[in-house]
Amino acid sequence: MKWLNLFKVNLKREFILLKRYLPNTISLVLTFYLIFLGMFFGIHVVGNPETAEVNIQYALVNYIFWFLAMSVMNGIGYTVQSEVQLGTLEQIYMSPLGAWRIFLTRIISSTITDGLIIVAMLFVSMLTANTWLNLDFISILPALLFTIISMFGVSYMIAGMAIIYKQIGSFLQISQFILLGLTFVPVSVFPLLELAPAMKGVDMVRQVMIHGFSLSDFTLFDYSSLILNAIVYFVLGVIVYLRCERTAMIKGVLGQH
């Protein structure tokens, strides 16, 4: 019950701030759409007209995953950084439920709100491009869920850095390009990518949305790899975060700017 109450207030806070910072929300939506338009017209102008539709589909799927990965993987680190700037981080640390759990409910909440925006924008983009991806939610959701869990792990690792070093803005900017590279390269081209966080899941969702795969088209190895990737990165992320938290408490830099 305590967990549910914790989740409820953090989800509510996310929606309130989304509404209260409306210009920021609108600019997020517009940025998403404008970048998509840039890619769409780019493919039409310089790309091969025969493969244009498949290329657009690839670009669209990779793009939404890049957007999602950026928001999730940088999410907790960004939250820590902004809590320090707001002067509320130490209050978060006064909760007997634990700061890492609060940050987990925060990242779940922001993933829900960002997810809703991304889905809405996906439909607008498909409408604009007049190309329709296979949105078989039953096949997409399991892979997507474990992909996001794996991303949470990375998010905790980045947050660990933020809790010690505070100013990680430059790192977050660089990570955007790393994520761009990772999400746009298919696992079939570079199989070792499967070991990278979330990449197996991204590849599976790509197969569903572009090539029309269903749940039964994936092997047991695919599912094992997907689940193991999620568990390993999530557990590792939380461990790294808790170690960094302890270091910050020993050094006395927890709430410092």
Partner: protein
């Protein structure tokens, strides 16, 4: 009576920025706090008060020593210890400025696992007590500094903990708001039966609100006693002699040599001699010096001393004999 806070020989040092040198902020502090006590944690800037509060809150790990909150070791079971404490930290906003008063209250209570229903009744009662009912739907950013501080204390209170730490709750407030916060703290202590640890430079607040004062200087406890005792101890040591004639040079030298004195004159031209004495027999020595040259004594008064003067005496290293023994 049971101790709600137990601190055993706690030490903490920090690395100086840009060097390997360490500064010892807390040098082996021990004390206990009983349930329901209101304790003033005092000391000059850099004395180690905030470090101590942060260690008690589990926000800072001590180098050595142990801290128990309601019998729970706050290093071994940090989260369980946090069930018993809430804090309003100095220099922090403690609140989300883009949320309303009510949204902040509900958010921080939810962060402790409370549902809206569980806090509703208490929230309504406290909104009245804090005179914040009309402001409940206002964005915190639009409130005055005093109001924001009240909301931060409200959040701490809504956590329903046994212990509340308040670090400089009246800092930066105007006199009127400072009085309001002081009244509020008294009401909280009376009506909510909480153990309050109050760190402040505002001595009238300590004199008015606290039962006990722990004075920290250079990372050590220099005094730990009831506020009333401290006032009495220093009051009984300060005397004001009103003399009908000015002192001779010999008398002045003798007095200045043996005591801390302040010689002045009043509007009626009488000589005023303020003396701080260490022992009762010193009083007779002073009278002897005055009588030797037949200086007429009109009256002898005990000086009224406030807690600010007591604090200054202590941090300057002056300690009555009885108090030195009590530490």
């Amino acid at each position: 009576m049971e101790h709600v806070i137990e601190i055993h020989d706690v030490k903490k040092s920090y690395k100086k920025r840009g060097s390997k040198e360490k500064i010892q902020a807390v040098k082996g502090i021990s004390f206990n706090v009983k349930k329901g006590e209101i304790v003033g944690l005092l000391g000059p800037n850099g004395a180690g008060k905030t470090t101590l509060i942060k260690m008690m809150c589990g926000l800072l790990v001590p180098d050595s020593g142990q801290i128990f909150i309601n019998g729970v070791n706050n290093q071994k079971n940090r989260l369980r210890a946090l069930e018993h404490i809430s804090v309003v930290l100095e220099g922090n906003r403690n609140l989300y400025w883009r949320l309303t008063v009510k949204e902040n209250l509900e958010y921080f209570a939810g962060n402790r696992g409370f549902s809206k229903g569980q806090i509703q009744e208490k929230m309504e009662r406290l909104l009245q007590l804090f005179s914040l009912k009309e402001k409940e739907n206002e964005i915190v950013n639009s409130l005055s500094r005093g109001m924001q501080q009240k909301v931060a204390i409200f959040v701490a209170l809504l956590a329903n903990t046994d212990v509340i730490f308040l670090d400089e709750p009246t800092l930066g407030l105007d006199i009127e708001t400072s009085y309001e916060i002081r009244d509020l703290l008294k009401k909280i202590a009376k009506e909510e039966q909480k153990t309050i640890i109050l760190s402040t430079h505002d001595m009238p607040v300590v004199q008015d609100v606290c039962e006990r004062a722990i004075i920290v200087n250079h990372g050590k406890v220099v005094v730990d006693d009831q506020v009333e005792n401290l006032l009495q101890l220093f009051e009984s040591k300060a005397y004001l002699f009103t003399l009908n004639r000015s002192l001779t040079q010999k008398q002045t030298l003798l007095l200045e040599d043996q005591f801390v004195v302040n010689i002045s004159s009043d509007d009626a031209g009488k000589t005023l001699l303020e003396v701080n004495i260490q022992k009762g027999e010193d009083l007779y020595k002073i009278i002897e010096i005055l009588e030797e040259e037949q200086t007429p004594i009109e009256k002898i008064d005990r000086t009224i001393i406030d807690f600010e003067q007591v604090f200054l005496h202590i941090v300057k290293g002056e300690k009555p004999v009885e108090m030195a023994q009590s530490v």
